[in-house]
């Protein structure tokens, strides 16, 4: 068998095994329950609040937006986290010491994170179908597919690059969560972006998170709700263009950044980080 093909297959099974582990490890599972539960609570809380200027439930729009947030959260935060953690514990060095191990490693991460996104989206949608009315779950198929490819492309490389900027789990956790929370705040996830100052609206539109949310809303909400969006439109073309731009930029830059980071990995760098963790330096 071709070595690259063998590594690709190993990567696919790596991703599947680690996805399964994320569903059976108490720590991962409680983090999932906490975040997904938190989002659902926010939706239920705002169920009877009306989206400004409409007679539509704010909670239902949040549900759609949160699906976009899920893609961003797992693609950026979880991916970045994994890179930081696995660099610290030596997983990355292990991959480097294995023939074609880095290829398998990256494929494994993509499969694992994709699985976690599908799971989170499915659970959220399922809960939403019972709790809310007004969702147009008629034909969201095409957008979900697109969100899948574009969303992963726009977020995973970004997460991987962010992760490689931090050298320890201790320094990474806070800043990365703050970054994502800040992004969510200016991306119109929990409240229409049109109610923010114009500067923040522009800033929000730079990042993929806003567009992921917009795309999900366009797929799941009634057509008339486009009226509360910027330009009174779902802006499908712009959504596609911005996400594609992020994906292309990420796919070009991430290999360079990751290769630079991986080149510096050696036994002594892993040992030094372990010392730091153990002695609390």
């Amino acid at each position: 068998m071709n070595p690259a093909l063998a590594a690709t297959r190993a990567g696919l099974s790596l991703g599947w095994i680690e996805f399964r582990q994320s569903l059976t490890t108490p720590g991962d599972l409680s983090a999932f329950v906490f975040t997904t539960g938190g989002f659902l609570a926010a939706m239920i809380w705002t169920r009877h609040t009306l989206l400004p200027g409409t007679h539509f439930s704010l909670g239902t729009t949040i549900l759609a937006s949160v699906l976009g947030l899920n893609v961003g959260m797992y693609g950026i935060l979880r991916m970045g986290d994994l890179i930081v953690i696995e660099r610290e514990d030596g997983t990355l060095l292990r991959a480097k010491a294995t023939p074609n191990g880095m290829l398998g490693y990256l494929i494994g991460k993509v499969v694992n994170i994709s699985g976690q996104i599908v799971f989170a989206v499915a659970i959220t949608l399922l809960a939403g179908a019972f709790l809310f009315t007004g969702l147009a779950v008629g034909s969201p198929g095409s957008w979900l597919t697109l969100a899948w490819v574009l969303g992963l492309g726009a977020t995973l490389p970004l997460g991987a690059m962010l992760g490689s900027l931090f050298t320890s789990t201790r320094s990474a956790g806070g800043p990365m969560i703050l970054l994502l929370a800040g992004l969510a705040a200016i991306s119109g996830i929990f409240y229409p972006i049109t109610h923010l100052p114009v500067v923040l609206q522009w800033l929000g539109q730079v990042f993929p998170l806003y567009w992921l949310g917009l795309g999900m809303r366009s797929a799941l909400l009634p057509h008339t709700l486009a009226a509360v969006e910027i330009g009174h439109s779902w802006r499908h073309l712009a959504t596609f263009a911005v996400l594609a731009a992020w994906a292309v930029a990420g796919l070009v830059l991430a290999p360079v950044v990751l290769r630079r980071m991986a080149r510096r990995e050696s036994g002594s760098s892993v040992a030094a980080r372990r010392e730091k963790v153990m002695h609390g330096a």
Binding site: P3, A6, D89, T91, G267, V270
Partner: protein, 290 residues
């Protein structure tokens, strides 16, 4: 090899034959880790020629990588994985590199047996004790049946029993697999037990190269002779212990009791060599963080 303006390795010349176990000894900061990381292909050198399995490790491709194995002491990866599952997974990367003479990867059950983890095959990695964890690291290091295995301080933090088990595994490996092993350690006893050849590194330079026996002999073989005569105890350091003892008996004959001749241990030799080297060379900074 240098960082900034300071050479950290300088005159490190050695080669290893197939199936040989070479131990790299030396005080902290002597350049052991730097040397082994250059050979592993994880660190670039500034000058000099290095050939590992016929290839410069700085340009070793994946096929070269498949012929090497690495065991470090600081790995804590794959904690959620089952032992057996992890070995099967990592073995898959080596399958395309099988040759007519070497079947890669190692059969998982055989490998578990070899490192003594059969009883723990279904355990999660994080549930293993320190010694078991290290044996797993060795299993992962050899899952691709490497021709060359790097062991970086493999038994640091082991209890005596775990250490003995580990030594057995290495012996089995070199006997049956003809694996070449390069080992760094602080444990002189371990080096003496495992290594066919010992290299002593101080301040980035190899100051001694030979078997434990040869090293002891180069240090002029000063032996310690102890005896008692008329209830009184004596100790003497002799260059030629045999001649000294012969002379002792010639002079005092039957009144010599409790005779004991102790050859210099590897530890004595090591201490003497390192001290000698430190006095010969002006002290200098050996490691500057990159």
């Amino acid at each position: 090899m240098r960082y900034g303006k300071t050479d950290v390795l300088n005159g490190v010349n050695f080669s290893a034959r197939r199936g040989e176990v070479v131990a790299l000894l030396g005080p902290n900061g002597a350049g052991k880790t730097t040397t082994i990381e250059i050979l592993e292909g994880f660190r670039m050198r500034s000058a000099g020629a290095v050939s590992v399995l016929g290839t410069d490790p700085a340009h070793g491709g994946e096929a070269w990588r498949a012929r090497t194995g690495i065991v470090l002491q600081s790995w804590r990866d794959h904690a959620k994985w089952q032992v057996r599952e992890l070995l099967i997974h990592l073995g898959r990367y080596y399958a395309p590199y099988s040759t007519a003479s070497v079947t890669r990867p190692w059969d998982t059950d055989e490998l578990l047996e070899t490192v003594g983890l059969t009883a723990h095959a279904r355990k999660r990695v994080r549930q293993l004790s320190g010694g078991q964890r290290r044996r797993l690291d060795v299993a992962i290091g050899i899952v691709g049946r490497p021709e060359l295995l790097f062991l970086d301080e493999p038994t640091a933090g082991f209890d005596p029993e775990a250490r003995r088990d580990f030594h057995d595994v290495v012996h089995r490996l070199t006997d049956t697999e003809q694996t070449t092993v390069l080992l760094t350690t602080h444990d002189l006893d371990e080096a003496e037990r495992l290594a066919d050849r010992i290299l002593i590194l101080t301040s980035g330079t190899v100051i001694a190269d030979g078997s434990a026996d040869e090293l002891a002999r180069t240090m002029s073989g000063q032996s310690e002779v102890r005896w008692s005569r008329d209830g009184q105890r004596f100790v003497h350091a002799a260059d030629d212990a045999t001649a000294f003892v012969r002379e002792l008996f010639r002079q005092y004959g039957d009144s010599i009791e409790d005779l004991e001749v102790r050859r210099a241990t590897l530890e004595d030799t090591y201490m003497a060599l390192v001290r000698q080297a430190e006095h010969a060379a002006p002290p200098r900074l050996t490691v500057v963080a990159a």
